[in-house]
Symmetry: C2
Subunit: 569 residues, 2 copies
């Protein structure tokens, strides 16, 4: 075997040259924790800020223990905790879709818990907590996962802990593994779950009558878990949007090089358009749709199509027959007439299930046209056949259409094509489409996420060693050193109607059209539509002069004076 093949074999299993190097990379730490060689847990004090929502009175009734303890007050780190708790057994789990940086949260927990305490990993998410599938995390584990992407160290799943039986299973796991605390790394739903768990586990769990602490850590590439200055952004958003922005930047760079394509790019991000807005601000494409704006302005599908066609034609008149259109994954659900059409279809299909069962595609369409309100029949007629077929396809177990399966980018391409053909058939309109999603969830974290996550872990562990429960860890003031804070989960709960009943949940943060980020976008987009002013943000750098960048939406919304992030400075 040659030296080269020998070293190639050594690169297998997470040991690429890059992975070997990033493990050794020091990431910045908020000064209050000390430095990488000597880290200490911090203690927390109440800030003046008390959180509430429209439903706080009712929430307080349901979460008596947690609210009694926290008073829904925000805490901030004030200095080293000189008398931290010890001999704590802490379990950590990932919940929901993966996001870059998760491994660093685990590393941060481990580095504060130290040898005085035990950190246990829960395998495969909430399901592992129910089944008691835990193992002790070692120093060698931490060395190997440091700064790497993915959730594969523990795995994850989407189980929601809701039933009494499930709560009893969690209790059993707590007892079997002698747990003192659980850290839930997850999105809005998982942190809602953490709040419920914190209340349920607040006392009478262990033999001595004490409870098990629960701390949440805000994760999601979608960016829909953010709380003003307190939680500037969920982790993973920065890396995912930097990955998508590189790709969109590369494609933008391709357009005036090959001079013939319009690329329609659908971007992951569930309902909210944070991802699309961030990528637009980083890359400056000809068109970027923002779902929340579509909904607010009650735009019709035809209006959206016309707005894109107009840009295509105007650019073509100037000799530019290329461009990029960004489409947020969830846009269909924000077009009022589409949601109302889908609702009527859901109803009609439920009513006429038997009659429609044996009809062919064409027959089904004809049948349903006769049953729809005139307005909806008219809208339906403007859609391409394959979309009509999808809209009439099988419903899920709740009788709903899986809207996410609709190929929105192709629908828009086809409708814009028809529109251009009708208005100005000479305008060239060659298209390609893309969907960027899975490639962004597990990339190695950007330096921003690597640092943010490590500090989130340090904060979460510090909260545990201060005896706190029912809080979400956060780092704010990212442009001025970084400040560890603790957000009382109960202070975030709203009552929402879900699956036919009222539930207390953390509200998903949608993009706001009155935010600084949206307003800046709205100011520039017409200029970007007219001529190529795009930029290529390039691959995220872990070393060198281009490595320290805050997401643009975060910097604008938090009114930072520049894009540098300054944790530890």
């Amino acid at each position: 075997m040659s030296n080269l093949t020998e070293s190639l074999i050594k690169m297998e299993k997470h040991n690429s040259i890059f992975e070997q190097q990033i493990r050794k990379l020091d990431v910045p730490i908020c000064k209050v924790f000390g430095n990488m060689k000597s880290l200490s847990p911090v203690e927390f004090s109440e800030t003046g800020e008390t959180l509430s929502t429209k439903d706080t009175a009712q929430v307080n009734e349901s979460f008596k223990n947690c609210v009694k303890a926290s008073g829904n007050k925000v805490l901030a780190a004030t200095g080293t905790n000189k008398n931290p708790l010890s001999k704590k057994r802490v379990a950590v789990l990932f919940s929901g879709g993966p996001a870059p940086g998760g491994h660093n949260v685990v590393a941060g927990l481990y580095k504060i818990l130290g040898k005085e305490n035990t950190l246990l990993g829960v395998k495969a998410g909430p399901k592992g907590l129910l089944e008691g599938d835990l193992f002790e995390i070692t120093a060698a584990d931490i060395d190997s996962i440091m700064n790497t992407g993915g959730f594969d160290f523990l795995g994850s799943d989407r189980t929601k802990i809701k039933s009494e039986e499930q709560f009893l299973s969690v209790k059993k796991t707590c007892l079997n593994h002698k747990l003192d605390a659980i850290v839930v790394i997850g999105g809005d739903d998982s942190n809602t779950n953490a709040a419920i768990l914190a209340e349920y586990l607040s006392s009478d769990i262990k033999e001595d009558g004490s409870g098990v602490q629960v701390i949440g850590v805000p994760k999601t590439i979608d960016g829909d878990l953010q709380i003003g200055d307190l939680l500037p952004i969920s982790f993973g958003f920065d890396t995912a949007t930097k990955i998508y922005s590189e790709l969109v930047g590369n494609i933008l760079q391709d357009t005036p090089s090959s001079r013939k394509y319009w690329h329609f790019v659908k971007l992951m991000g569930r309902s909210a358009s944070h991802v699309a807005l961030e990528v637009a601000l980083q890359t400056k494409p000809a068109v970027a749709l923002i779902s929340e704006e579509v909904s607010e302005k009650k735009m019709s599908l035809a209006e959206i199509v016309e707005s894109i066609a107009k840009v295509v034609i105007e650019r073509s008149n100037k000799g530019i027959n290329h461009g990029v259109v960004l489409v947020p994954e969830g846009i269909i659900e924000f077009i009022p007439e589409m949601t109302s059409l889908i609702e009527e279809l859901n109803e009609k299909i439920a009513v006429y299930e038997k009659e429609m069962h044996n009809l062919s595609g064409v027959e089904k369409r004809e049948f349903i046209y006769s049953k729809l309100t005139a307005q909806h029949a008219q809208l339906m007629a403007t859609l391409p056949d394959y979309i009509e077929d999808m809209l009439l396809a099988e419903r899920d177990s709740h009788g709903n259409l899986q809207v996410s399966l609709i190929p929105t980018e192709q629908l828009l391409i086809d409708m814009v094509k028809s529109s251009i053909k009708a208005t100005d058939p000479k305008v060239p309109f060659k298209t390609l489409n893309h969907f960027f999603g899975y490639e962004g969830r597990c990339g190695a974290p950007s330096l921003f996420d690597a640092a943010y996550c490590l500090n989130l872990g340090l904060t979460a562990a510090s909260l545990i060693l201060s005896g706190k429960t029912g809080y979400m860890a956060s780092i704010c003031d990212l442009n001025s050193g970084g400040k560890p804070v603790a957000i009382p989960l109960t202070g975030l709960l709203n009552i929402e109607r879900r699956h036919g009943k009222d539930e207390m949940v953390i509200e998903k943060a949608l993009a706001k059209t009155d935010s600084e980020a949206f307003k800046y976008f709205a100011e520039r987009r017409n200029i970007w539509a007219k001529e190529d002013l795009f930029a290529s943000p390039g691959p995220r750098q872990l070393w060198g002069p281009a490595s320290k960048q805050t997401p643009v939406t975060v910097a604008l919304n938090r009114k930072y004076s520049n894009l540098d992030f300054k944790i530890g400075e």
Copy 2:
């Protein structure tokens, strides 16, 4: 306006933080050129190596002037050219699809030509040469394109210069712009074109009876232009495969994190599987198909499908219900039975055009089944309906099916699904598919491509200032300082049957199953199939300890002892 919004506006038009920084990045230079602050053209001497192909005798007849001048001998740089030609007017153009690093070739040309000569950019590729669309390139232009991705500085197109009329247009452009030399940056076909142009322009072009020099530069992300040790790789291949490898690595990292998906990833690269092989070597997926092997082993579609299904089932038996399958873009054309089916379909559709014209999809299929040989009818019956419809769809102007439009990754998913359902229906097989192509053609060059391209430009300009014509510039010995060489284009020409007539062309370099890279892959792939041994190469780094990496296939095939590239060391 805030400081932040002001700086965001300054980042428009190729001025992201990354783009601002890479412009300032020094890239390594072969010592023979001096250093970045003081660059000198080099002179060339004959090496002992003479190139020939099976058709050299015939080629020599058609390329009398060039062969007479070069003797088909390879040249190597020997030292500074102390008496370079001057007052040369040199035109440079991009030809074909974009590839990362092209801008640095232009920068390299400019840096050697200096103020004593003039560099002209040809707009929009060969078409611009025919139309005489040229402009003078300035020092400010070079500063702004340095190390950036894309071909947008000049644009490109796919026009082939073949007809007498086109040659006369080129001659006219040479005269109008007083050109002394043309540099063609392109792939195998474009360099074939450069050879023909070099011969045509070798004398009697300018008023004094002299000719116009033509130098080729080897570009293509597909990697199918490589010539043993002389031309280790075409430029752009490294960056494109690093971009795809990051994405595939991210997806691999996602698989054990979410624990439920098989991802089928189609990779750009036209016919050859160099890209798929390189990405496989960098990421170590469960399965990677290599077209050239399929062809050599005469594998049937069913055999390919079974080989994948076997891996899926074996992994599932061990509890691994996820994985990644890499599929080269051109594989269909390498499956003997598929090409023979498509050939028969092309013939039959031509014969029965009228009869089939008004038939529906189902009727068409029934009709054609009765006309096909039994073997082909049987194969056709195993294909999903949508593929059958595609195979019967409209032909191009030559009566051929556009094979590239067949969604191979979806075809494989559907057929593997059927196969698993038949063998072991309990095996979970949830799938997602991807196509990575356009996002890799215009990314900012890796440090490898940035350096390689700059040195290619320095070499090409040096050849011009030495009065050479009909050569392709290359840099070899990338692991030991880098050596500028000149490859006589005529020494590469073979006779191939194209569009029904013999043409002298540079042969496309396919991946070889007896190459070191393939042999290493073949040795490891069964191990990668059985368990997760993948690695994530991460985003390409322009700074820091992970920035200097040669493509793995190049290092293996050239028997380098490691992956470090050492231009200038």
